[in-house]
């Protein structure tokens, strides 16, 4: 055994990670999916939660993917995904925006937008 251990590294094999038989096997889990692990927290995606299958396949963090779906902004394959700082800033913006929706100024802004749409319609008649 020790002779094999000393001789084999010189034979040019491709190393692989050996998983002992008594440990939890590598590979997917019934509930945890492809990774085989529930992700409780991942700083790259900015927050906790298991990655969705679609997000894993697209190579994008789950949280980023769901926020883009919500806002309608498409993330094409290969397109650069925002980093965690940018993502957190965007979340702050959404939170600020939602908190202002009941304000008098915001309602006035919506009325103004409707009036602009009405004017545009009038011009096209």
């Amino acid at each position: 055994m020790s002779i094999a251990l000393l001789a084999l590294p010189g034979c040019g094999g491709k190393p692989f990670v050996y998983n002992p038989p008594s440990e939890i096997p590598e590979g997917p889990g019934v509930f945890s999916g492809k990774d085989g692990e529930f992700i409780l927290y991942d700083s790259k995606s900015g927050k906790g939660g298991k990655k969705s299958k679609a997000a894993v396949e697209a190579g994008a963090p789950a949280a980023v993917k769901s926020s883009t779906e919500k806002t309608g902004a498409a993330v094409a394959a290969g397109e650069k995904v925002p980093d965690s700082t940018e993502y957190r800033e965007f979340q702050d913006f959404l939170e600020w925006k939602n908190s202002k929706q009941d304000a008098k100024e915001y309602q006035e802004f919506l009325e103004w937008k409707k009036w602009k749409e009405f004017k545009k319609w009038q011009e096209n008649q």
Binding site: P15, F16, I24, F38, I39, L40, Y41
Partner: protein, 359 residues
């Protein structure tokens, strides 16, 4: 035995960690949860009695774990916290079967690590350097049979054929693969891998120490090969009079067309005056086919472990099917024999089936 100089080891470790933390800002954090459930049903016969058991498969017990890591500039700090969640362990079954046994939550890993280009430093409870060195196995059937043969039958007592009474000797008393010191509270260092080869050393309580060498690589046309070798000196660890030195090794080869062969061997040399060396040998030949099936046959023997002149042997068959990547269904059968001078003992037979599901 000369005791290792623990003071300098401790100072070196603390300085090393402090230097890493001071110079490297954190840049990525991960925390994960994973686990498995592994339950089996077994019929066993000791020559006088037989019964059916349902319990936890000690080959790879039911458990869950938390892992976390934080990446610094070139250094990853990590933690592993893992618990066995067990009831009625297969290693403790014995006839007659009296019930479900007791529940236990047992710490397996409480480990802090720092890994980088320098290798890996681990502190806490986890595998000692030689843990697993007698258990390398690429057969795909290790969930039900591997060199740790007492995990499915260690509690069964051999029956004296003449008196028809229990002999007082169990399978576990007479069998061991001499595989390191399992998991223990240790300071461990692993070298970086060089072409699949690495070395490890660990120091644990009682001034016990372990060293090991590991190799795992895949060759075009020849398949996968994994090899390990370990050495242990228990020094003052354990009960007085039970100290020993021990070496062990294992080799497993998996051909591209599915044939696989596994060998394990080891020897324990007790420190006690007048004691005799105990030896173990194990061989398994298997076949993986249809991408989800694996089958194997095995033979193992431990000599002189409990009593001088003992030959404790086993023969086994195993079959595993993996219909989904996260689910294994398995079946196995084993026969245990003990040849002891001046005693005639019944064989112990068992047939098992079960499942391991990773969640």
């Amino acid at each position: 035995m000369k005791k290792p100089y623990c003071g300098s080891t401790l100072i070196t470790f603390v300085s090393f960690v402090a230097a890493l933390l001071y110079f490297s800002p954190a840049c990525a954090v991960e925390a994960k949860l994973s686990g498995q459930v592994n339950q089996l049903i077994m019929w066993a016969d000791n020559g006088e009695d037989n019964d059916i058991f349902i319990g936890d498969n000690e080959n790879s017990s039911t458990r869950f774990r938390f892992t976390g890591s934080e990446e610094f500039n070139g250094v990853t700090a990590g933690i592993t916290i893992e618990f066995d969640v067990e009831r009625n362990l297969s290693a403790n079954f014995d006839l007659p079967n009296r019930g479900d046994g007791t529940f236990r939550l047992l710490d397996r890993w409480l480990d802090a690590t720092f890994a980088g280009a320098f290798g890996k430093v681990s502190l806490g409870k986890g595998s000692g350097a030689a843990d697993g060195t007698a258990e390398v196995d690429l057969s795909g059937t290790s969930v039900i049979t591997y060199s740790g043969v007492d995990n499915t039958a260690g509690g069964f007592t051999f029956i004296n054929k003449t008196t028809h009474l229990p002999s007082g000797t169990t399978v576990g008393d007479t069998r061991s693969n001499f595989d390191g010191l399992s998991r223990n509270s240790r300071l461990r260092y692993d070298t970086p891998k060089f072409a699949g080869f690495s070395l490890a050393g660990s120091l644990t309580n009682g001034n016990a120490w372990e060293v090991s060498g590991w190799y795992a690589a895949e060759f075009d046309g020849l398949g996968k090969v994994a090899v390990a070798f370990g050495y242990v000196d228990t020094n003052d660890r354990g009960a007085i009079g039970s100290e020993f030195t021990q070496w062990d090794g294992s080799l497993s080869w998996l051909a591209p067309f599915g044939l696989n062969v596994t060998f394990a061997m080891g020897q324990r040399n007790p420190d006690a005056a007048g004691s005799v060396k105990a030896d173990n040998g194990y061989v398994k030949v298997g076949w993986q086919f249809g991408s989800i099936h694996a089958a194997s046959v095995e033979y193992g023997q431990t000599k002189d472990l409990d009593t001088r002149g003992d030959k404790s042997k086993n023969y086994g068959l195993a079959y595993v099917i993996k219909p989904w990547q996260s689910v294994e269904l398995y079946a196995g059968a084993r026969l245990y024999e003990l040849d002891r001078r001046g005693a005639s003992l019944d064989d112990i037979k068992q047939i098992m089936a079960g499942t391991r599901i990773k969640f």
